[in-house]
Amino acid sequence: MASEPATPNVVAETRRGTTLVVASALLPLLLLGGILYLFVRTGTGLNLAAPAPIEKIEFERVEFLPGEIRAHVINTGPDEVTIAQVQVGWLNRSAWDFTVEPGPTLPRLGRATVVLPYPWVPGEPYEIALITANTLIFTHDVEIAAETPRASAAMLGTLALLGVYVGVIPVFLGIGWLPFLRALPQRWYFFLLSLTVGLLVFLGVDALHEALENAARVPGPFQGVALILAGLSLSVLGLYAVSNWLKQRRKEATGGLVLAYTVALSIGLHNLGEGLAIGGAYALGEVAMGTLLVLGFTVHNLTEGVAVVAPVVRSQFRWTHLVWLGLLAGAPTIAGTLLGALAFNPLWAVLFLAIGAGAILQVVIEITRHQVRQAGAAALVGGFSLAGFALGLAVMYTTGLFVAV
């Protein structure tokens, strides 16, 4: 149809059309506003009062300082709650003196700190019971009391060093195997990729498992499992976007280096989550930080270095890329341990672990596609592939024996 000149009739019609669109967008919102206003003013007319008050207080963190216990709590109930009395239990509960900062009444999703001047003894179990004005009691058990480490240069240095031991060094050691891997016959490259897939699948499922565990500790309103969904899916899609963009920029024939960078990124994100867990466990006095643990993590993460270089065994590139790959995969561990020790929050742990799991998922898909392009789909279930995958799982499981608590 030939384009018509904009006659006044057409213009008027277009304007009417636009007005209609805008009006139809605004009308439901205005009506909603009106309904909400009416509910607030005159009530809903529904008798939905609960027979007893519903309250919920969750403990986010309990700190032990010399002569003092500080309990950080959040009100996750539907209404405000007032903390009226506090009892501390050792064998039996004792009413105790306390103050609540900023105040004893918490609005919904409000936070407060209950400060108890209590002579706690290291190694003893304690129970903190909050009694609300409505006589509901919320308790938290501390299995073994230990002084909460305070941020100091020494502690931060220790944690950063831990991150280096556990994250950076193993990855670079694994990368150091590159010449050996290059010297292997062609068909071993396929085996290597399957091994990598096995390693990554193990890591991904482990990350998901930890994310689910942490999700259980996230206060209800913050919907831990929804965060897992968000982190996982956004990281899968996001990594696809990033790797496509990188492929366009580099215009590489094989895309092996790009794949290596995505593997390194995904492992880096996973290590961030892992560092978070380690740092958080240390801050809460939960970690048996003996040499065995550090050793176990080091060996466990050695394989990550192999996973990073496996895609580029057959590629040519400058050696400086290896440095960047190693840092990308290993350095986030340091950020993780520091963050975990200073400000651990299961919410962030869930997010980072889910993002890490999603990144790993994306990389696994990419490597598998790479293998199919190289040797066809039938080869995926051939002997070499299965052996590699199985070996990857076996190595991770075995090294995990030293690490898992």
């Binding site: 002569g67 003092e68 006589t135 073994i144 890329h321 929050n345």
Partner: protein
């Protein structure tokens, strides 16, 4: 941007995010209840002295604790029983009204629903002289059937077990006050444990015909409240308000003889104990001579006793249940013995 630059950007961004979250995160860190293993990598814990907070008074329920968690003076249950008086025509009449919509502040800030005799927990302290004709009219303004069961000697149909008083109904218990002593009274409607726990208890003091030596008197009922119905009491109390006589100490005078009527109406054994002193004990109050000279006495379920004592030195003395768990959850208070210029030398034994 080259690949290197991308990598550098990503790593730096992550580091910045981590730093930013670390700054923000001090508000929202998190706990866990998982197992803990302390290892050689953690610094050795400081000496025990390092962990003691500065405290005053008992160190437990701070002597000068924050004002907002104190009982108002108006809420304190008057510990002084009515004095013995002659009964007109040898008849004493009482009316006890049971209501189920009471609210009791069992600890400052914690209000529990209670069932009451005449609006109070414990119920009013009744007093009679041995041989009086006692008439107690029960008016039931609740929604459940109730009774009053008196400890003491009386006919079976005045015992308050079989004759349930329906909501809106009333019943008059009539009996001759016997024997002299402390006779608790409480509702015996089923389930009795619930009716008693919810506050339907009190004390009747029956004086011997010849009377006891006149002196300052106190009446104390030991009971407890289980707020979350988990089978364990959360607050214990003298006269149903945890720590009330710590917030408002009982004033005594140095050298002043005191008689304390104590009854245990809870389902646990109690052990009333006076600090800095010994007392003469009259178990159940049914003797005219004390049978023991001690500072702690175990009162089993529904047991009671009269304690007579005097304080020779001024100061604050705790009176508590010596079951430490009970004391820590409210069964303690202070006797404030004020100095007297001339201390009368009293015969002690």
């Amino acid at each position: 941007m080259s690949g290197r630059a991308i990598v550098a950007t990503v790593v730096l961004t992550l580091a910045l995010v981590a730093a930013g979250l670390a700054l923000l995160g001090t508000a929202n860190p998190v706990s866990a209840g998982r197992t803990v293993v302390l290892s050689e990598a953690v610094e050795a814990p400081a000496a025990h002295g390092h962990h003691l907070p500065p405290t005053k008074g008992s160190g437990l329920y701070q002597f000068e604790h924050p004002g907002r968690r104190q009982f108002d003076a108006g809420q304190v249950f008057n510990p002084v029983p009515p004095p013995p008086t002659p009964a007109p025509d040898g008849v004493r009449e009482f009316t006890l009204v049971i209501e189920e919509d009471g609210v009791l502040e069992v600890a400052p800030g914690v209000k529990v629903p209670v069932w009451t005799f005449n609006g109070t927990v414990p119920g009013p302290i009744l007093r009679a002289t041995e041989g009086d004709r006692v008439r107690v009219t029960l008016v039931n303004k609740g929604r459940l059937p109730h009774t009053i069961h008196f400890h003491g000697i009386h006919p079976a149909n005045m015992d308050g077990v079989f004759e349930l008083v329906a909501p809106g109904g009333s019943y008059t218990y009539e009996f001759i006050a016997a024997p002299y002593g402390i006779m608790p009274y409480h509702c015996h409607s089923m389930p009795t444990s619930q009716h008693m726990h919810n506050g339907l208890y009190g004390m009747m003091i029956i004086d011997p015909k010849e009377g006891r030596k006149p002196m300052k008197e106190l009446a104390m009922i030991m009971s407890a409240f289980d707020l979350d119905r988990d089978g364990e009491a959360d607050f214990y109390a003298w006269n149903a308000r945890a720590f009330q006589y710590a917030d408002h100490p009982i004033e005594l005078e140095q050298g002043e003889p005191v008689r304390m009527y104590v009854a245990n109406v809870f389902e646990e054994v109690m052990a009333p104990h006076l600090h800095g002193n010994m007392f003469h004990l009259y178990p159940t109050g049914t003797t005219l001579q004390p049978t023991e000279y001690t500072d702690v006495k175990t009162l089993g379920i529904a047991e009671r006793a009269i304690l007579e004592f005097q304080y020779d030195f001024p100061g604050y003395y705790m009176f508590q249940c010596h079951v430490s768990e009970h004391m820590e959850q409210g069964l303690m208070g202070w006797l404030h013995v004020k100095e007297r210029q001339h201390v009368a030398a009293q015969k002690r034994r």
